[in-house]
């Protein structure tokens, strides 16, 4: 495929084939343990300086993947043959969901009564969506993870399309909120494309990083010993350096473009919290995918520059900042700022948390939910939980999330089989997303960070997000069928 010199190619091929043999031997040993596993993918291995070769056409990851891909029937058989899903993870999911529904009703019925004229106006759709979500979770947990990989690019593409569509076709949220374009609605059904984009991004990153792992992880280093000085060797080394740098940069560039594109589109929705969440999610996916640490210096430097530019007084940056964030940041820093406006939500939330104390006022006995805390069923549900169940109840919820996160990571870390990198990245991405959302939400409610609009997973009101969340849980459960019981 290239016009490289045949001799060197041959040499490299030979060198590579040696490694391949070794690698196959290792795989075989592993596959002896997992006799039921799917037909293995033979992957080229590359490590070490100067041993890197272009893959053989047949070894191209995408090609190889296609070749070894079984039919749908095979996949069903394969998954049926697997062990059951991880019980602890399933229990955590079901527990959080049940807890979330109960607390959502308790926190939200007053608001529902006041604004919808019916105390059950929030809980009934939410419960319906939870049932739907559980069905989706069950179905997805029975789908082979390789299907997710197959659909990863499609998911990303859909996300992009939806994010573009939402800019032009979105549900109007009412007076004063015209500039917010987050929801696409079909009749009474509305959903947030950014919710789908999160899953799309995770799936894409997992799949693509699996495919591109060599490039991502290639070290840009002069590497190796220098036995003797010589022009040819130096030239070869320089060429090699440039090639590796280009390889890594091009791979990372893909993620930068994808993540940047998604974040940009979400930012265009006037959805800053979503932007930040996606940015962090992308960054963590890249980190987990093995991107070298120094690549992260680029966005960090960029953000630092932005902040510097803001304080240095660059008008354009300041304008962007002022546009959306400034009031929230001011409200966060100045605790006495506009108590009837910008700080109302957070103040009332804090009053609720304080009212709860250690043991809480008792289930259903929140007083702050009586129209003091705005959206008590949504972003600020946690403050009502604190008020009703106290610090202890809040810590139990925090622990539930931590356990979910940990169990999800354990599922990821114990993946076996050749698809373990994709599965692992997928599980970790999903769990990290859930954990991050929970952490950000609670941090907002406790006035630890400025007010953003992130819901609490499993607890906050919202049909699409709950169904997508449970679908994600289904994916983790599906992957958990491929985990080693013990390390």
């Amino acid at each position: 495929m290239t016009n490289r010199r045949p001799d060197s190619q041959t040499h490299r091929y030979l060198a590579n084939s040696q490694r391949r043999e070794r690698s196959v031997a290792g795989s075989t040993r592993r596959s002896q343990q997992n006799t039921q596993s799917l037909a293995r993918q033979s992957m080229p291995r590359e490590d070490g300086l100067l041993r890197r070769v272009l893959p053989h056409p047949t070894e191209h990851p995408f090609f190889t993947f296609k070749k070894t891909k079984p039919g749908f029937g095979g996949l069903v058989k394969a998954i049926r043959a697997q062990q059951g899903v991880d019980t602890f993870f399933l229990i955590l999911v079901l527990g959080l969901l049940a807890f979330g529904l109960v607390m959502m009703f308790s926190a939200g019925y007053v608001d529902a009564q006041a604004h919808e004229g019916n105390a059950y106006a929030y809980i009934i759709p939410q419960a319906k969506n939870a049932l739907l979500g559980l069905a989706v979770m069950f179905v997805i947990s029975n789908i082979h993870p390789s299907v997710f990989r197959d659909w990863a690019y499609a998911a990303l593409g859909t996300s992009f399309v939806l994010l573009v569509v939402v800019l032009f076709y979105h549900t109007n949220l009412g007076a004063g909120r015209e500039d917010i374009a987050r929801f696409i609605g079909f009749g009474s059904f509305t959903f947030q494309p950014s919710e789908i984009a999160k899953l799309g991004l995770i799936m894409f990153c997992a799949a693509d990083m699996e495919a591109r792992k060599g490039k991502i992880m290639s070290k840009i280093t002069l590497g190796g010993p220098f036995p003797r000085w010589g022009w040819a060797r130096t030239k070869a080394k320089a060429r090699d350096f440039i090639r590796r740098a280009w390889e890594a940069l091009s791979a990372i560039g893909v993620y930068a473009v994808v993540i940047g594109g998604i974040c940009g589109l979400v930012y265009k929705e006037n959805h800053l919290s979503g932007t930040i969440l996606l940015l962090l999610l992308g960054a963590v996916m890249m980190w987990l995918g093995g991107v070298k640490w120094y690549w992260f210096l680029i966005p960090v430097a960029g953000i630092a520059l932005l902040i510097l530019a803001y304080f240095a007084g660059v008008g354009f940056i300041q304008k962007i900042f002022a546009n959306y964030m400034q009031e929230r940041v001011t409200a966060w820093l100045d605790k006495n700022y506009d108590p009837l406006g910008a700080r109302w939500q957070v103040n009332q939330s804090l009053y609720a948390i304080g009212s709860g104390g250690l043991f809480g006022l008792g289930f259903g006995r929140s007083q702050q939910k009586h129209l003091y805390v705005s959206e008590p069923h949504n972003d600020f549900i946690f403050s009502i939980i604190c008020e009703e169940l106290g610090y202890i109840g809040a810590v139990i919820i925090l622990l539930l999330f931590v356990f979910l996160l940990r169990q999800g990571f354990i599922v990821a870390q114990r993946q076996r089989g050749d698809a373990r990198r994709f599965n692992g990245l997928l599980c970790m991405g999903i769990c990290f997303q859930v954990g991050l959302q929970a952490a950000l939400n609670i941090a907002v409610v406790t006035d630890t960070i400025p007010n953003t609009g992130i819901g609490l997973p499993f607890f906050s009101y919202g049909g699409t997000s709950l169904v997508i969340l449970l679908a994600e849980m289904g994916m983790v459960l599906s992957c958990s069928r491929f985990m080693r019981k013990k390390r």
């Binding site: 070794r22 004229g117 692992g424 006035d447």
Partner: protein, 794 residues
């Protein structure tokens, strides 16, 4: 050749694995940080936030108990409370708006909206809003329904009052606030958190000025401010309850499950011993006396002899309890009008108002003067230092300790016995009696009659006797002091003390504690406390008491108190005219008083009438006694005390009309003349066909009986003559000529040179009335021998 484990682990998955642990660790640290932050918010700052939440949510309202009512002894309503609203604000809640300019803007907006509704100015309301250190302030108390409705509509909107909760049977009462713009929403929304309506009560006094100085009134918050309302404030108020309600952010009430109730204990109602009828008689007469004498003030007390219960207590000038700050006395208004600066005016007004509210009968002290002579007489008789028959010749003056005490009759009363001396109110005689008693005994009895202590009627309002100030204490009392004390001119007492002491004489020597509250009723009308009459002590023996009573009776029959005479009711009394002393000097002002009780053989009522600083005539006998006479007569008739006429009285006042029907006109005339009655023939007939009044009825002496000689003869009309300043004899002629029956309200048994003269008639001069009607004419004697007691002249 197998790859060593270490080498194999160095693949892409293991790289992710390593890094995943780092991610997990970081996010777990994040959760720990959140947990710590949460600890700070819910535990460390928990109480602070909880307090703020409660400040938002909880509206603690006091449930005022209904103030008890006040009734007279016949359950006639004197005072009651009705529920109204008070417009209150909670200025401290404005501090929720941290920005000062923003806060001020909201304050201004609300005050501008609210002021016209509560009849106030925006400035006044704003100034209260600015007192943000106060939790609650009242903007308008006692707002009656239209005002409170307007405020309620402003605060909670029409929707809130109109729309019912959508879910029946549930206590949700939220209303959507949507039509208003953001700004409007903000300020009116805030108004409902800083302004509210509290239950309030307003006191209503159905009888206005009736017994005003006694009953008193309530001020803001229905707190008693004067009189019985103040004295029995605790009993009347009851114990307030509390309602702690949780309110949602829109001002609606949360579920009733959050409410905490503490039931109020309703105030007790007072049933007074006061008799509204007697009180009315007393007030009527005092008002007339005030008009006649142009006095500074008049006051009177009527006491039930056996119990010490106060049946009436009144004073003029008085005020309308419903408008306690309105000064009606033109003299006072004139005085205030003389002040130039507003400050002085306000000060004068304040003094005037406070003076107006005062119950002078118990709060003021005065020199009792000659009235006290009955006490001196009691001491002397009880201690047997003086005998009834003991004669003493008054030469017009007596010298004690280098000081000469003059009698009001400068020529002297001549030789008198004890009764005569009291009848004449002879000063030198009583100085001698006082000296015979001595300082120690005098002080004993002074104490015994209760002059050195409060009567116990109202501990807060009663003037407290102060030794050395209001009276001479035993140790420092000299015989000179004793001399003036024996005719009541060297110490000051309250009218009530004086009456209580005289009441002891009426009550056979038993000193009763005066009281006004007969019973306390709870909200359901059950008596929960009953005040029994309290016997303080037996001061003098029954025997002495009856002796003094007889002396006092003589005073009324023929002595200085003859204007207090009520035919058939055997009034015992004593007049008094004391000089007012300003720093030991007499300034030409007097207090005229008359104390009496009746009937003398079985006393029912004791009464003291005091007229302070009368203009013109100043003798108690002339101006106070007639007042007492009229009140006493009306009251005794009202109380169904049967009159008992002596033979002499019967002859003078009381004639039974004989039956002359069917007799010849001449015979009839003769028969009537024998019964001291005048006949007046109507018609030309020979025989009497009918007579008016009918046989068996009673007429006063020389009453007119109409004899109709023809059936068809019409009732004749006549004009009421003017009886003013006529003697009883002249009046008799006038009445007979007019064909009217005359009722003498006069002491016709006293005799003496001075004839009483008519000063009032109940039918107006010039009125056309039917013949045979009775006209009551009031007479009083303008005796030149008064009871006025010059203090001392050197």
């Amino acid at each position: 050749m197998p790859i060593p484990h270490k080498k194999r682990s160095n693949n892409a998955f293991d790289q992710s694995l390593k890094r995943s642990n780092a991610v997990l660790l970081v996010i777990c640290f994040g959760f720990v940080g959140i947990g710590i932050s949460l600890w700070g918010k819910s535990i460390v700052h928990g109480n602070e936030y909880r307090a703020k939440a409660e400040q938002n949510q909880l509206h603690d309202t006091e449930i005022r108990p209904t103030r008890g009512k006040i009734y007279d002894s016949n359950m006639e309503l004197l005072a009651e409370s009705a529920a109204v609203k008070a417009v209150v604000c909670w200025p401290a809640k404005f501090l929720e708006i941290a920005k000062e300019d923003e806060r001020l803007r909201v304050m201004e907006q609300i005050s501008k909206d609210l002021a016209p509704m509560i009849n106030s100015t925006p400035e006044a309301v704003l100034s209260k809003f600015k007192l943000t250190k106060y939790g609650a302030l009242t903007l308008r108390s006692q707002a009656e329904k239209p005002m409170s409705d307007a405020v309620s509509e402003y605060l909670f909107g029409k929707k809130a009052t109109q729309t019912e909760p959508k879910v029946a049977g549930k206590s949700f009462a939220y209303t959507k606030v949507e039509e208003k713009s953001h700004e409007e929403y903000k300020s009116s929304f805030f108004a409902s958190t800083v302004i509210g309506l509290d239950p309030d009560t307003k006191r209503y006094y159905p009888k206005g000025t009736f017994a005003s100085t006694l009953i008193g009134f309530t001020g803001a918050g229905d707190e008693g401010r004067a009189g019985l309302e103040y004295q029995f404030n605790k009993e009347l108020t009851g114990i307030p309850g509390r309602k702690i309600t949780a309110k949602d952010a829109a001002g609606g009430e949360m579920d009733a499950a959050y409410d905490t109730y503490v039931d109020p204990v309703q105030g007790h109602s007072l049933v007074l011993t006061l008799d509204a009828t007697i009180q009315r008689y007393l007030e009527r007469e005092l008002k007339q006396a005030q008009k006649d004498t142009q006095a500074n003030a008049t006051y009177g007390i009527v006491m039930e002899v056996q119990t010490g219960a106060i049946l009436a207590m009144a004073g003029t000038p008085n005020y309308d309890l419903n408008e306690p700050f309105k000064i009606t006395d033109p003299r006072v208004l004139e005085t205030i009008g003389k002040f130039k600066t507003p400050d002085e005016k306000a000060k004068a007004e304040n003094t005037a108002v406070n003076n107006m509210w005062k119950n002078h009968s118990i709060a003021d002290i005065y020199y009792p003067g000659s009235v006290f002579k009955v006490i001196t007489a009691s001491m002397a008789l009880e201690e047997k230092t003086w005998e009834m028959k003991r004669l003493y010749t008054d030469t017009g003056a007596i010298k004690i300790g280098g000081r000469t005490y003059h009698c009001h009759k400068l020529s002297g009363h001549g030789t008198q016995d004890f009764t005569q001396a009291l009848m004449n109110s002879c000063n030198p005689y009583f100085v001698s009696v006082g000296q015979s008693v001595g300082v120690q005994k005098f002080s004993d009895y002074f104490e015994g009659f209760g002059f050195t202590e409060q009567t116990g009627f109202s501990p807060y309002a009663e003037a407290k006797p102060k030794p050395g100030v209001t009276y001479y204490p035993r140790k420092s009392m000299s015989i000179v002091d004793l001399a003036s004390a024996s005719f009541g001119q060297s110490f000051q007492v309250t009218p009530l003390q004086m009456l209580t002491a005289v009441n002891a004489i009426a009550n056979g020597g038993k000193l009763m504690q005066p009281y006004i509250v007969a019973r306390e009723l709870d909200a359901d009308g059950n008596a929960i406390k009953k005040n029994e009459p309290t016997l303080k002590r037996q001061v003098i023996s029954n025997d002495t008491a009856s002796k003094v009573t007889e002396m006092m009776r003589q005073v009324v029959i023929a002595g200085t108190g003859k204007n207090g005479y009520v035919p058939g009711y055997r009034v015992a009394g004593k007049t008094g005219t004391s000089q007012k002393m300003i720093s030991g000097e007499h300034d030409g002002k007097y207090v005229a008083s008359f104390v009496c009780f009746a009937p003398a053989d079985n006393p029912k009522l004791a009464m003291l009438i005091t007229i302070d600083e009368p203009v013109g005539a100043y003798n108690g006998s002339q101006i106070a006694a007639p007042v007492a006479e009229r009140v006493m007569e009306d009251s005794l008739i009202y109380l169904n005390v049967p009159p008992k006429y002596t033979e002499e009285e019967k002859a003078v006042y009381f004639n039974e009309v004989p039956s002359v029907q069917g007799k010849a006109v001449k015979d009839a005339k003769d028969t009537l003349e024998k019964s001291h009655l005048t006949a007046r023939v109507v018609g030309e007939g020979e025989k009497v066909v009918s007579q008016v009044p009918a046989a068996g009825e009673h007429l006063y002496r020389d009453g007119v009986v109409l004899l109709y000689t023809t059936k068809e003869s019409k009732e004749k009309k006549t004009m009421v003559p003017n009886f003013l300043n006529k003697t009883p004899e002249e009046a008799k002629v006038l009445a007979a000529n007019a064909g009217l029956n005359l009722k003498y309200a006069a002491n016709l048994v006293a005799g003496g040179r001075d004839k009483p003269k008519a000063y009032r008639q109940d039918l107006k001069y010039g009125l056309e009335v039917a013949q045979g009607r009775t006209v009551t004419v009031y007479f009083k004697s303008y005796a030149s021998d008064s009871d006025y007691t010059p203090y001392f002249v050197d």
